[in-house]
Amino acid sequence: MKPKLNASNAVAALLCAALVLLPVYSAATGNIFILTLFTRIAIYALAAASLNLIMGYGGMMSFGHAAYLGIGGYAVGILATEGIGSGFIQWPVALAASALFALLIGALSLRTRGVYFIMITLAFAQMAYYVASALSRYGGDDGLTVYKRSDFAGLINLSDRTQFYYLCLGCLFGGLYLIWRIVNSRFGLVVQGVRSNEQRMQAIGFPAYRYRLVCFVIAGTICGLAGALLANNTDFVSPAVMYWTRSGDLMVMVILGGMGSLFGPVVGAIVYLLLEELLSQFTEYSGLILGPVLLLIVLFARGGIMGLLGRMSRG
């Protein structure tokens, strides 16, 4: 399948170019704020993209995805507190911990379907939230300050704004590329087939549960990476990052951008966080506008922004 020139692909290409050139703009205009804003956007876009892998392609509506943001973040924060500052240790631990958590809750949750799945993933994330709140050695409710960003032996300096931005962007692009390969692979086709019709996939010879579980773990691991980035970005990690409304934010980004479209979550994250930021510039009460906007999008723009673009390019 050759990539076709249509509205959605054009938007995605323009977006990538703009994201890559952003530090140049920031340096030229001295607008540092935009760079920090987009660093955060890139991190959330990565998290949303990982959620899109299970939600959009796998049909698994997880309402606890923010748990991995916290687990990745706490892995970095706790190791830093204990004097292990090397990113070569922190980050693999963050990924492994997220993968393990995903394996555990996935193995149990994937026995349920539909709304029950939504609720059980939420329940597990809430448990993670309360566990983090109880870690009194690591700040408990108040959260944990990360005094020193992950150290990569001089390869890259995470405290340098531009370098850190490119690291986040690189992780985002890497994550998107990985997801794109997975989605088109044998594995990806099976997972999408199971979303479409699980019984049929069983009947032609696929153990659906295993494929869903592996997909669930991959998504959790990618989100764990986003968590490690987030802790470095804010120099802070707290239970609040795992609260269910954060999971809701991630879902909103995915649906807003367009489920099951590779760049949808990126577009969703940009629009959602930018809107939030812009609104907060001129009103203290951004929710008064953002809330109804979400409602209107659901009512009038099915398939999210990418879906809208797709329909436009088809005429």
């Binding site: 149990l108 609720m119 059980i120 269910w244 008064l288």
Partner: protein, 305 residues
């Protein structure tokens, strides 16, 4: 022993409050197949309305009644303007739209009432302790919550089990196409059910208001508990919601009250005081996870779909 009785009553009271919240949620979920995250916002609005109206009127009862009416009205307007267009849509769309409503309500409240919480004080006649069994006193207000909630539960039971509207509601919860086939004005029925759910949420909020601070986001935590209850109880089942709510209320309250002491017997003091709050907060979620793993459709599935 007295402590146990008191905590049991507290658990019952909390459970009944949760039932008021869960009943509306499970009806709306069961009948309209609608996931309403904004249900917690209606709870919050009930509390804010109560705090305002009680101050205006100077009467607790009058203020509470006005708040109840206001939440009912708000629910109906909300359903009429926005939510009815989301019936039959994907659950995710509903989650997104009602998540938007949460953002809206939180900031609307902040705009109208300010970011600081409100306190709602009780009239003197509700603050006295009542002797329930010789030697055991219990706050009159909490006792009143139990009585009111039980009365509402009984009324709800009668309406759902004994009336024509109730028959339609039950029919709708087990088989949505059927009420359409009966030629009933479904739109009106749905609006009424949604309004009823909103009023129940508002009632829960306004009754909880004097016990906790009235604040932004108060609906979010309790909403999740209500969801836990309807999932444990089986979606669409009022009876399931009632049992699960009491169960959850008592387990949660007893866990918070006695788990720290229990843990201290097995663990060292420091470890226990770290683990106890987390464990008691987690208890409910743990319970739900276990139930869902063993019974993926809840304890009391309303009916086979």
């Amino acid at each position: 022993m007295y402590l146990v009785v008191e905590q049991l009553l507290n658990g019952l009271q909390f459970g009944l409050l949760l039932f008021l919240l869960a009943a509306g949620l499970t009806l709306v979920f069961g009948i309209m197949d609608f996931v309403n995250l904004a249900h917690g916002s209606l709870y919050m609005m009930g509390a804010y309305f109560a705090a305002t109206f009680v101050t205006w009127t100077g009467s607790f009862v009058l203020g509470a009644l006005l708040a109840l009416g206001a939440t009912l009205l708000l629910g109906i307007v909300l359903e009429y303007v926005a939510l009815r267009h989301l019936y039959g849509r994907d659950h995710l769309d509903q989650v997104l739209a009602t998540f938007g409503l949460i953002l809206f309500f939180n900031d609307a409240v902040r705009l109208i009432w300010g970011p600081a919480g409100l306190a709602l004080s009780l009239p003197a006649w509700l603050t006295v302790p009542v002797q329930i069994i010789p030697g055991v006193y219990y706050p009159a207000y909490r006792l009143m919550i139990i009585v009111v909630a039980l009365a509402v539960a009984a009324m709800l039971y009668l309406v759902v089990m004994r009336t024509r509207v109730g028959m339609l509601i039950r029919a709708g919860a087990s088989n949505r196409e059927m009420i359409g086939a009966l030629g009933i004005n479904i739109k009106l029925l749905f609006t009424l059910v949604f309004g009823l759910g909103a009023a129940l949420a508002g009632l829960a909020g306004l009754m909880q208001a004097p016990i906790l601070t009235v604040q932004i986001g108060m609906g979010e935590n309790i909403l999740i508990l209500a969801f836990v209850i309807i999932v444990i109880g089986g979606i669409g089942s009022i009876r399931g919601a009632f049992m699960a709510a009491i169960f959850v209320g008592i387990i949660d309250t007893m866990g918070r009250a006695f788990l720290p002491d229990l843990l201290r017997k097995v663990l060292s003091g420091a470890a226990a005081s770290t683990a106890a709050p987390a464990l008691s907060s987690m208890l409910i979620y743990l319970l739900m996870a276990i139930i869902l793993v063993l019974r993926p459709e809840g304890l009391f599935p309303a009916a086979k779909r």
